[in-house]
């Protein structure tokens, strides 16, 4: 049963296929072209990404959907803002998109995200694999949990970034 009550919520999984990866999968009750659009067009992205309730919004959502084109999202939340940006590497609608992703406070730790969309009887299975530059960065991302109230995670990020800096 879906804990959240939203359709297909129970199909969502988070796994770590290797030391440097995090993989998210979920089934969506929509055809691939719609899921692809919702993931790649700003007017759609704004509606679901970072929109986690009162006090949350996406004031910046720029997408230059070309190979080598840049993207940039800013998520405003009650405790401040979180900025993410990157570059598109592969664009193959409606089945595959590959892009780099950088969390602005850590420009030296880009991840490469490979998202594939597979048709399952009219529904779409999304598999999004983020590959981080090291196990430490991957663990850091998992540990901070990209919390809703980001203040705590920023504290932890500070800690880890200091550890990263001193371990170099």
């Amino acid at each position: 049963m879906a804990a959240s009550g939203v359709a297909n919520s129970e199909t969502f999984t988070v796994t770590t296929p290797s030391d440097t990866e995090i993989q998210l999968t979920r089934l969506f009750d929509a055809p691939r072209h719609l899921v692809f659009e919702a993931m790649s067009k700003p007017e759609h992205i704004k509606r679901w990404w970072g929109n986690l309730g009162d006090g949350y919004s996406v004031p910046v959502c720029e997408v230059d959907l070309r190979i080598g084109g840049k993207w940039r999202f800013v998520n405003r939340h009650p405790k401040g803002e979180a900025e993410f940006y990157g570059e598109y590497r592969e664009i193959d609608p409606p089945g595959r998109i590959v892009f780099t992703e950088i969390y602005a406070p850590f420009p030296d730790a880009p991840s490469v995200v490979t998202a594939t969309l597979a048709d399952e009887n009219g529904k779409t299975r999304l598999v999004a694999t983020s590959n981080y530059p090291s196990k430490m960065v991957r663990d850091m991302v998992l540990q901070t949990g990209m919390e809703k109230g980001a203040a705590k995670s920023y504290d932890r990020l500070d800690e880890v970034s200091m550890q990263l800096a001193t371990s170099r």
Partner: protein, 118 residues
């Protein structure tokens, strides 16, 4: 990072050690018994057991003759809790996406065409 969780993750990062833990879920057992399914010397298995023990994932009996290994699930629970926030975060986003896709689908239907005006 040499915090507790990192030690646990290090211990879990090896397939032999995960197999040992899986065996111990069914109950405590002796080192020789644990070594059986693996093509591995006893000292090699003991080395894995020390890593697991250091991470607090197993406990070993006191008896010198027969030191049975038993699983300790507490660190595993910590690992599960650790990724839980991350899981929750994306679960929320993807639930949003699912709900939004239903809106898009409905719009597409009423427009009767894949092409939608800007």
């Amino acid at each position: 990072m040499t915090d507790h969780l990192s030690t646990t993750f290090y211990a879990l990062a090896d397939p032999t050690r995960r197999a040992i833990l899986a065996r111990l879920i069914t109950g405590e057992c002796a080192v020789t018994e644990l070594a059986e399914p693996f093509e591995m010397s006893l000292p090699a298995v003991s080395k894995h057991l020390r890593v697991l023990e250091r991470a607090g994932l197993i406990t070993r009996g006191r008896s010198a003759q027969w030191r049975p290994c038993a699983i300790n699930a507490l660190p595993l629970k910590e690992v599960a809790e650790w990724t839980e926030r991350y899981r929750k975060f994306w679960e929320g986003k993807f639930d949003n996406l699912e709900l939004y896709l239903q809106e898009l689908k409905a719009k597409e239907k009423t427009n009767g065409s894949k092409r939608r005006g800007k």
